[in-house]
Symmetry: C2
Amino acid sequence: MRRDIFQAIADPTRRAIITLIALQAMTPNAIAENFHTTRQSVSKHLRILTECELVKQEYQGREIYYSLEVEKMKEIDKWLNQFRKIWETKFNQLDNVLANIKKQKK
Amino acid sequence: MRRDIFQAIADPTRRAIITLIALQAMTPNAIAENFHTTRQSVSKHLRILTECELVKQEYQGREIYYSLEVEKMKEIDKWLNQFRKIWETKFNQLDNVLANIKKQKK
DNA sequence: TATATATGCAACTATTCGGTTTCGCAAATA
DNA sequence: TATTTGCGAAACCGAATAGTTGCATATATA
């Protein structure tokens, strides 16, 4: 069973869950209320998110509060870095183009 | 058929393809040589990447050069923004904690 | 103690996914 | 012109996936 962050955020429901619990911890029931799906379905998503450590659990009596492990999100950011360099370069190239146009106008 | 960037980058082979053609355009055959899979398989990945506009084609005779549409990658970055705010805040909170420890030492 | 509530887990199903094989088409080359 | 080469598309297959239903367990509450 493959289990990595990229596969985890591929599902739109999981992305929505992540956004939902980013700021405040929530129980599966509370989370499920926000979607047109069953609690069990949400539970499965939470399991996947927990397995790749994107989400952490906090037991409180019979309730389990889920919240986002923000640090883990940085891994996506880290992966994006290689492309960030490229799009910044492209931006600079555009800068040069603009500079040349300016020169020509003079 | 669902087709969005997040689903596109979920597959490790597709992520590798993206990295491979990020700096220079390549033909399907050339790309396939870098993986332990067939050209047809790579072709299917390229179709998916093209459909969600992460990759662009450039026809040159009977060859087709594929290259990364860097701009599209920014959409992932944009999605990450909501969490970036959170992890920066957490970092600041840690800053405060460190500041307090410093104070107590005095 | 009996009942209600919060939850995870297993079994099942329909759908999707990644890969392979085969084919057809168009461009290059002999 | 005949053959080779580069490519996409369709058909097929096994594995994975998302969702549902049913059940077991533990904690509250009456």
